[in-house]
């Protein structure tokens, strides 16, 4: 199963998603703000990063850019969660994300996307 970092300032959402994904057998690490996210990524060896787009301090796209600047993490899959339906996939891919999932989250769609990204 995959080792996943989940970044979100909304603790509630993080808890329900963590429960759902751990039930699917994934190893979940959480991080509540964008500033710490980069350090966590570089300190560990994650298979996937699931990250909210709209966060205080450092926003999702900025974290993405920081990560992508490091050659080691050029191909690290990053799945962005957002409520902005008027921004399409191409917009987030342009910011460095690998894929995007819109709120409210459909659990089946989430699990399918994770499986695709971690290659299981």
């Amino acid at each position: 199963m995959a080792k996943i970092l989940m970044v979100d300032d909304d603790q509630d959402l993080m808890i329900v998603l963590q429960s759902r994904l751990e039930m699917s057998g994934h190893e979940i690490e959480t991080c509540s703000n964008g500033g710490d996210a980069y350090d966590k990524i570089t300190d560990n060896d994650f298979d996937l990063v699931i990250m909210d787009y709209f966060m205080p301090s450092l926003k999702g796209d900025e974290v993405c850019q920081n990560v992508r600047e490091n050659p080691k993490y050029k191909s690290l899959p990053i799945l962005i969660i957002t409520g902005f339906l008027d921004r399409d996939v191409a917009f987030f891919k342009g910011k460095g994300a690998t894929d995007v999932i819109y709120k409210p989250i459909d659990k089946d769609e989430l699990i399918e996307k994770i499986n695709t990204l971690v290659g299981t």
């Binding site: 959402l13 329900v16 409210p104 989250i105």
Partner: protein, 1042 residues
């Protein structure tokens, strides 16, 4: 032919020199005989008593021969040699003769001579001959006639002496041969040689003296040449034969003379006969020649007399000796005047000198000159004269013949022609000639000045070039009239210059006739009357104005005394029309004074004004009111001046009074009208600015000043309003002032309506204006002479619009953020509920499970609601981009229908399609139309409990209609118009079906963006048919914001 053989002097000259040389040779051979002792050379004719030529004689003969031969020479040196030889011979002969005659020193003299020369005595007759011939040779060439004759006589004497010796020898008469006592005789050959020298000397000048006769061509010469030698020769021969015959005893003394005479007679008869015949022939020839000559002369005389030219013949002294009748007429002189008249007297002194200076006589035989002679009456005559100079055989001028033609007329024509050419050249008028086809032949400087073409440019071109297109019809009739010989003068028309400017010209057209009398050329004189036309027009205008003034304004003339009553001395009758009283009323204040009808309010002013003018001796003009008989008031204009006596006292005033009431009324009306408009404009809320043709502000009202934020005084005279105002277009870009309405109107003469601009005023406030402009055009002009600009303040409207746009923007933003913020908790709830419902947090009973699924259903509904609100908001704020692409509508309907199959089946409904085959491809946004169709089907499914749902496509005009027909409950009529509004609630309480209430509103927005229609036909209780249409052609292909 021998009759006419001319005596050739050359033959005689050759004979002369031959005989001279013969004598020289004879002398030389005799000399040689002496020197070398050769007898035959000395003697030549042996026997007899002659002992041959002596040495001295031989030398003398040589010298004489040389001398005679030298005489023949033409050069002076040769002649002097001849004279020298002759002189030496003569002097030596005289010396020897003197010595022999006196007997003194003869021997001494001979001894003086060298060697053999002195060996023998020379006979006296030989000495005499030497002396005669020597001096003759010496003298014969002298110019003086006497000396020449002396020489000739000497030759004749010498010839006689030598002939005596010859005859003596021939007839054997000793005493004739001997001379002197010592018996020295002249040798026979010596005598012959002497004779030869004589002949030679005579013939050396064949053209002179005695020889002239001998060598002449006349009958005398002929007789001399033929008869003399023959007659003398016959005598000699006969006498010789008789003497020799008697001596030999052939015939006796009696027979001899008879035979001789007979022979003489016969010979002479033949000779004379021949001579007579020759003379007869000569005479005949002469007569024939004379008659030929006469004939020729007559012929030439006739030509001479009847010649069309005057002919004069002059002698060598340039005197007139012959002339023809024409010459008399030409010179105006009679025969007496002309005969022997010096040619020079025909000319003026000056002209004669000019002719002389040309050396007419010295130049060749023919000469030709043009000159001028004076007739007898003093009149000058231009002539052309051909002179032939006559010369004789020696080249001496013997006369001249002049053939004279009167060229006065020609000269006049020439002078006239050059005068005409000068006039044409210098003329200010254009003078040109054209042929009958209108081709320009000649072109003067005036034409160049007027029409601006040079002759080179225009010659050969058609005159049409000068005629403006609308006048070209004139030309054929002009040419036709001129061809018929008609002169056209002062034809005023318009022509066009090279630069295209029209010019007014006055044309005079004259036909030019050829020798045959037909018109072949047309002369055109064009005078530029453009200036005159302008002046004429101005004058006409002036006159018209004056006339209308005079006819329209009744003028009254007056003369009055300069007193307070205006006592009239004269007043024209028109006063009656002016004031209703007769003129006679005022004369001498008979009935009333003029001062009494002046309006009381104006009287003082008028009196004061006129008094002042009279005092200052100025003319005056004044307007005032008078009282009409009908009680009305008239305005009059009076103009006049006073006349003064020499001492300065005022005599009277003269002037004219005119009715100007109408003008005053019009002026007042105008003022009133202007005032009215001015007040309207001043008080209106709309800003009004009047600009002149240069774009300068002429006037502006207070509103304009307020709107523009610039005081009226600052605006007036300025070029509006670039100096003080910055302007922007609606989209915020700075205004290009070239497109400012007043500029466009001034340039293009058309009004501009509703131009909206934002003005950044000097006070810092923004001012939105809508500008209208209207050109003011004078009649007949397209260019605006002024422009009126009205400014409508739309700032409030614009601000409201802006606030509205901002509100919409804010609403959209708000909705977007709210919907996003709602999603996060919704996600948490949804996920949490799902985890519990799945039993992951512990087992659930049935009731718990039911409640959780209700919660889950409402969570989904909430999510949809949020989505729809956001979607609708974006459509309303026009933030959605549509992707128009060609799509197959039927295929789309099939796909959407297929997507609903499960749902309908689950509900026990059937879904059918009825699609029109062969629909054109349409341009639409596939996703959005899918959304619309899904929405309609979804509604149909929701509100239909059983039955079928029919999907239909069909073309309808320039569009395609899509229908979704259900068999549900239908919609009440009163609800139909609420359907497509947002959050509409229908009366039957459809909320229970779980819709968001936005589906149809969103669908309407989408269809509207496709320029289609959406609607519903419903039969309450039976079902509804929702439909929408899509047009076949979209205005824009590709993406656009709806």
């Amino acid at each position: 032919m021998f009759l006419h053989r001319p005596a050739r002097h050359s033959i005689y000259r050759t004979l002369s020199i031959g005989l001279a040389l013969l004598a020289a040779l004879g002398g030389l051979s005799a000399l040689c005989g002496h020197v070398f002792g050769v007898e035959p050379l000395r003697v030549v004719f042996p026997g007899g008593r002659s002992s041959g030529v002596g040495p001295l004689s031989a030398l003398g003969l040589v010298l004489l021969g040389v001398g005679s031969a030298a005489l023949y020479g033409e050069s002076l040196a040769l002649r002097w040699i001849g004279r020298l030889c002759g002189g030496i011979v003569a002097s030596v002969a005289l010396l020897v003769l003197q010595a022999q005659l006196t007997g003194l020193g003869d021997d001494t003299f001979r001894e003086l001579l060298p060697g053999p020369l002195g060996a023998r005595r020379t006979p006296v007759n030989a000495l005499l001959n030497f002396a005669l011939l020597g001096s003759a040779i010496c003298l014969i060439d002298f110019p003086r006639r006497e000396i020449k004759r002396l020489g000739g006589s000497a030759i004749a004497t010498a010839a006689w002496i030598s002939l005596l010796s010859v005859v003596g020898y021939m007839y054997g008469v000793q005493p004739m041969v001997a001379s002197g006592a010592d018996g020295a005789v002249m040798a026979v050959n010596e005598a012959v040689l002497f004779f030869a020298v004589c002949v030679s000397a005579v013939f050396s000048r064949p053209e002179r003296g005695f020889m002239k006769l001998f060598t002449s061509d006349s009958a005398a010469g002929l007789v001399m040449r033929r008869l003399l030698p023959t007659a003398l020769g016959v005598q000699f021969l006969m006498a010789y034969l008789q003497a020799r015959g008697e001596e030999a005893g052939i015939f006796g003394r009696e027979i001899g003379p008879a035979v001789l005479t007979l022979g003489n007679v016969a010979a002479l008869f033949v000779l004379i006969l021949w001579c007579a015949w020759v003379l007869f022939r000569i005479e005949q020839d002469r007569k024939k020649t004379e008659s030929d000559l006469l004939l020729a002369e007559q012929k030439y005389r006739t030509i001479f007399d009847n010649s069309a030219a005057a002919i004069t013949v002059c002698d060598g002294q340039e005197r007139i000796i012959s002339w023809n009748r024409f010459a008399e007429d030409l010179f105006g002189m009679s025969k007496e005047d002309l005969y022997l008249r010096p040619v020079s007297s025909l000319y003026s002194e000056e002209e004669w000198r000019r002719i002389r200076s040309q050396n007419v006589r010295e130049k060749g035989m023919q000469h030709h000159l043009e000159t001028r002679i004076q007739r007898k009456n003093g009149q000058a005559l231009d002539i052309d004269i051909s002179i032939t100079v006559l010369k004789d055989a020696q080249g001496q001028i013997t006369g001249s013949i002049g053939i004279i033609r009167d060229i006065t007329d020609r000269k006049k024509v020439e002078a006239e022609q050059s005068r005409l050419a000068a006039i044409v050249g210098a003329s200010h008028d254009a003078i040109l000639t054209i042929d009958l086809k209108g081709t320009i032949l000649t072109w003067n400087a005036g034409a160049q000045r007027i029409y601006q073409y040079t002759e080179r440019e225009i010659a050969g071109q058609s005159v049409m070039l000068l005629i403006p297109p609308e006048r070209r019809v004139e030309l054929p009739s002009i040419i036709e009239r001129a061809s018929a010989g008609e002169e056209i003068s002062q034809f005023e028309t318009v022509r066009v210059r090279k630069d295209g400017q029209p010019i007014h010209v006055s044309l005079s057209i004259s036909p030019v006739r050829g020798i045959d009398g037909t018109v072949h050329t047309i002369a055109v004189i064009a005078r530029d009357i453009t200036d005159r036309k302008l002046v004429e027009r101005a004058l006409m205008e002036n006159e018209r104005q004056f006339k209308s003034l005079v006819s329209n304004i009744p003028g009254v003339l007056y003369r009055c005394r300069c007193d307070p009553y205006w006592t009239m001395e004269y007043l024209s009758p028109a006063i009656e029309r002016l004031c209703g009283y007769q003129a006679s009323d005022f004369i001498g204040n008979g009935v009333r004074a003029y001062s009494s009808i002046i309006h009381p309010d104006d009287a003082d002013m008028v009196d004061g004004f006129i008094l002042k003018a009279v005092r200052t001796r100025q003319p005056y003009s004044i307007e005032y009111r008078i009282l009409h008989r009908d009680g009305g008031v008239r305005w009059v204009y009076e103009k006049g001046r006073a006349s003064y006596r020499e001492d300065g006292e005022v005599l009277y005033r003269d002037g004219a009074i005119m009715d100007v009431s109408e003008r005053r009324a019009a002026q007042e009306a105008l003022l009133e009208s202007e005032e009215r408009y001015r007040s309207v404009i001043t008080t209106m809320a709309e800003g009004v600015v009047l600009l002149n043709a240069d774009g300068q502000v002429q006037a502006a009202n207070a509103s304009a000043a307020q709107i523009l934020g610039v005081a009226i005084e600052r605006m007036v005279g300025e070029r509006f309003p670039e100096s003080s105002i910055r302007a922007f277009e609606e989209d915020g870009t700075a205004l290009d002032w070239a497109t400012f309405p007043t500029r466009l109107t001034l340039e293009e003469g058309r009004p501009v309506l509703n131009r909206i601009l934002r003005l950044a005023r000097e006070d810092g406030n923004d001012q939105w204006v809508s500008i209208n402009t209207q050109p003011i055009q004078r009649p007949g002009q397209t260019q605006a002479s002024a422009v009126v600009m009205s400014l409508h303040d739309i700032t409030q409207r614009k601000l409201a619009e802006q606030r509205m746009a901002e509100a919409v923007e804010m609403k959209s933003e708000f909705t977007s953020i709210v919907s996003h913020e709602l999603r996060t908790p919704l996600s948490v709830i949804k996920e949490a509920v799902a985890i519990v419902a799945e039993g992951m947090a512990g087992p659930l009973n049935k009731q718990q499970s039911d409640f959780l699924s209700t919660a889950k259903r409402n969570i989904d509904r909430l999510a949809r609601l949020i989505n729809d609100v956001l979607d609708f908001q974006k459509l309303e704020a026009m933030k959605i981009k549509f992707r128009f692409e060609k799509n197959d509508l039927n295929e789309l309907v099939r796909e959407v229908a297929a997507g609903f199959e499960l749902t309908t089946k689950a509900k026990g409904l059937t879904i059918e399609t009825r699609l029109h085959a062969g629909l054109e491809q349409l341009s639409f946004d596939r996703d959005r139309i899918t959304q619309v169709l899904s929405n309609l089907i979804n509604n149909a499914v929701k509100f239909t409990e059983k039955g079928r749902i029919l999907l239909e496509t069909r073309p309808e005009g320039r569009a395609v209609r899509v229908c979704v027909q259900d068999e549900g409950g239908g919609i009440k009529t009163e609800d139909l118009n609420k359907l497509f509004k947002s959050f509409s609630q229908l009366s039957n309480g459809s909320r229970k079906t779980g819709g968001t209430g936005l589906g149809l509103a969103i669908s309407k927005k989408i269809v509207d963006a496709h320029r289609g229609e959406i609607g519903v036909i419903s039969d309450y209780g039976r079902g509804s048919t929702f439909y929408f249409t899509l047009p076949l052609e979209q205005a824009v292909e590709g993406a656009h914001v709806a």
